[in-house]
């Protein structure tokens, strides 16, 4: 962190050595009444999202919508091509020979669901986002190796730099670091 620049406080970061410590600390932070908290871990940890108060994600719903859209597009396209705009009499079979349309309908259902799911996940995560204040913390590179971080954000109504830092120490953070947002 460069001192000469004007900087805004993003929050207070606590570092933990094990996922269990972090999980425990997250629960304590929630219990203490903090709302705007986030955790950073080198791999997904079961129950952590719940512990920081994040329960519901729209990803499954978006995936379902993508699948339905893909399936309807697939069948609609084939029906429109084969029965309406380019009808061909092949051996007197019905123009809407729907069993023959199943494979393409299926493939487009899967394609639609997959694309929506991935794009939806990335968009909900607000990625791509090359800059984020947490990257200003030097120790934070270890979030992708072997350290577990908890951040209580400054926008939390209960946030107070001195008090929150002390709280971090109370919940056994091995390091307590101020996270600054450089302008």
């Amino acid at each position: 962190m460069s001192e000469h620049r004007r900087s805004l406080l993003h929050g207070v970061m606590g570092e933990f050595e094990t996922p269990e410590d972090l999980l425990d600390a997250s629960k304590k932070a929630r219990d203490a009444g903090y709302k705007h908290i986030d955790a950073y871990t080198p791999f997904p940890i079961e129950g952590l999202a719940k512990a920081i108060g994040f329960r519901w994600t729209a990803v499954p719903l978006i995936t379902l919508l993508g699948g339905v859209a893909g399936g309807l597009t697939g069948f609609g396209l084939q029906y429109w091509c084969s029965a309406i705009t380019y009808p061909m009499n092949i051996g007197g079979r019905s123009l809407n020979s729907w069993p023959a349309f199943i494979p393409v309908t299926f493939e487009l259902t899967v394609l639609g669901a997959s694309i929506f799911s991935v794009v939806g996940m990335i968009a909900l995560n607000k990625l791509p986002q090359p800059y984020h204040p947490v990257f200003n913390v030097e120790r934070f590179v270890r979030a992708s190796t072997d350290r577990f971080f908890l951040v209580i954000e400054a926008r939390d109504p209960k946030f107070n730099l001195a008090e929150t830092s002390r709280f971090m120490q109370e919940i056994h953070a091995t390091h307590v670091i101020e996270v600054r947002d450089e302008e």
Binding site: D38, P44, A49, T57, S114, S144
Partner: protein, 462 residues
């Protein structure tokens, strides 16, 4: 990314070798895998391998350019054998691709821990195999610049694709498969790209991996959505992978040509695809773990399990061959009976016997535990099975097309030098992409390995 907890302390599991050698920490797995990409100098082996495979790709360019200049007449195909090597190679490559998705999706849903260290490069292998596969139908059209005719688009001629044709289903199945495999592979890579970004020492590495990681910062909220998508994609990819080779088999089974028009084709094609795919995963995994010292991550347990999967799918394939024969005689259809006899006694019978040797007889060695644990022998067996699966597609395509209903329409097929050059060229392309992949991206999923370390530790402390 576990869905449910496995009974880790059950005696059956304890007896098995670990999926990760003991003593590893979060940092050690990360260091070891990331070092292959970030710090390790290019060895003489890599450079030699890359040079050879790159030369093969140049040969592929020559072969395809000459094909585009002269037309498909430079190949050995002629009526009645319109398909030849192009379709044999297409089916072979697309089959190889199946193991990647099977490992990443189906084994994920089944909560098989041993998939973790092999899924990444198996997925990469899938992508490269699909790329090689897709090339063949494209150049087989003769006028590849017209390939967009297969897509439904509003043309001034007012014509639309024939959606009742399996060949159009194939276009949709293979392109969907390629896209979904790419998405699955890419989202699996995002956390690892972020890891590489954080560990990179050079500016250009930080820039490239930083851009690719899109600013992933390992937030618990992000992980939660990420896991949701990963699970859903696995669920979507599972029926997809089964559908792709089913649709490929429809290319044959929907036609009334003797030897093709059978209902056993879809399941037996899918089993064959997994069979050849696992053989290819072994062909890649064995040299890879040796060259980069990854024996701790790709352990004997992995090799043993893959050998068992090959044995099981090989038996399904053997059952398919048997049913083909049985149904030919049971149906009493004289064309089918004749074709079955042609496989055993016709001009291409040596291919059929070689196929039985490679695909059914030799793999029975895998019943023996000592064989499954003999790494060089396992490598040789994987090559034998790859060859056998190529021969299977050759037998299906060539024997049926040279011997259909009327003797006046019979023919012979022999591949030309250009056919072989194209096949060898795609082998080169596939291998070259793999050479680039192992040095450019983490060949083992790092974040998932850290998770595995966590689970292993959790087990020990219980």
């Amino acid at each position: 990314m576990s869905i449910t907890e496995t009974p880790v302390n059950s005696p059956e599991i304890r007896r098995l070798e670990p999926v990760l050698e003991p003593g590893h920490t979060y940092a050690s797995v990360t260091d070891k895998i990331a070092a292959v990409v970030l710090t390790r100098p290019l060895g003489i082996g890599w450079l030699a391998g890359f040079t050879i495979t790159f030369s093969a790709v140049m040969m592929l360019f020559v072969a395809v350019s000459w094909l585009i200049i002269k037309g498909v007449g430079i190949w050995g195909i002629n009526i009645p054998i319109g398909w030849g090597f192009a379709i044999v190679n297409f089916v072979w490559w697309i089959g190889i691709g199946h193991a990647g998705t099977l490992i990443s999706a189906i084994l994920f849903l089944l909560n098989q821990k041993w998939r973790t260290s092999i899924n990444r490069f198996a997925e990469a292998m899938t992508l490269f195999a699909v790329a090689c596969a897709g090339l063949f139908p494209l150049i087989h059209t003769g006028r590849p610049w017209m390939a967009y005719f297969m897509m439904p688009y509003p043309s001034t001629m007012g014509i639309w694709p024939q959606f009742r044709s399996p060949l159009i289903w194939d276009v949709f199945a293979v392109s969907t498969y390629g896209t979904v495999s790419l998405l699955f592979w890419f989202i699996g890579l995002i956390p690892d790209l972020a890891t590489l970004r954080d560990r990179a020492r050079h500016r250009y590495q930080q820039f490239i991996f930083g851009m690719l990681a899109m600013g992933w910062r390992n937030s618990a909220r992000h992980w939660h959505r990420y896991q949701s998508t990963y699970l859903l994609l696995a669920g979507l990819a599972t029926p997809l992978v089964l559908s792709v080779h089913t649709v490929v088999s429809f290319d044959f089974a929907v036609a009334i040509v003797p030897g093709w028009h059978t209902t056993i084709f879809p399941p037996y094609f899918v089993a064959g695809a997994i069979y050849s795919g696992f053989a290819m995963v072994l062909t890649i995994a064995i040299p890879l773990r040796k060259a980069y010292g990854l024996e701790d991550f790709i352990t004997m347990r992995h090799l043993d399990n893959m050998a068992k999967v090959m044995l099981a799918t090989g038996l399904i394939v053997a059952y398919g061959y048997f049913i083909e024969f049985f149904m030919a005689f049971y149906s009493g259809n004289k064309f089918d009976v004749f074709l079955a006899n042609q496989r055993l006694h016709g001009p291409y019978s040596h291919f059929y016997y070689a196929l039985l040797l490679c695909n059914i007889l030799t793999p029975q060695l895998l019943w023996i535990e000592k064989v499954r644990r003999n790494v060089p022998l396992l490598f040789c067996l994987s090559l034998v099975i790859n060859t056998g699966m190529w021969l299977e597609r050759f037998v299906i395509v060539i024997i049926s097309l040279t011997r259909d209903f009327m003797p006046s329409a019979w023919g012979r097929y022999s591949a030309t030098l250009w056919d072989y050059a194209t096949l060898a060229g795609t082998l080169g392309l596939f291998s070259m992409l793999l050479f680039l992949f192992v040095r450019g991206l983490p060949a083992i999923a790092i974040a998932e390995m850290r998770e595995l370390v966590h689970e292993t530790h959790a087990k020990e402390h219980k």
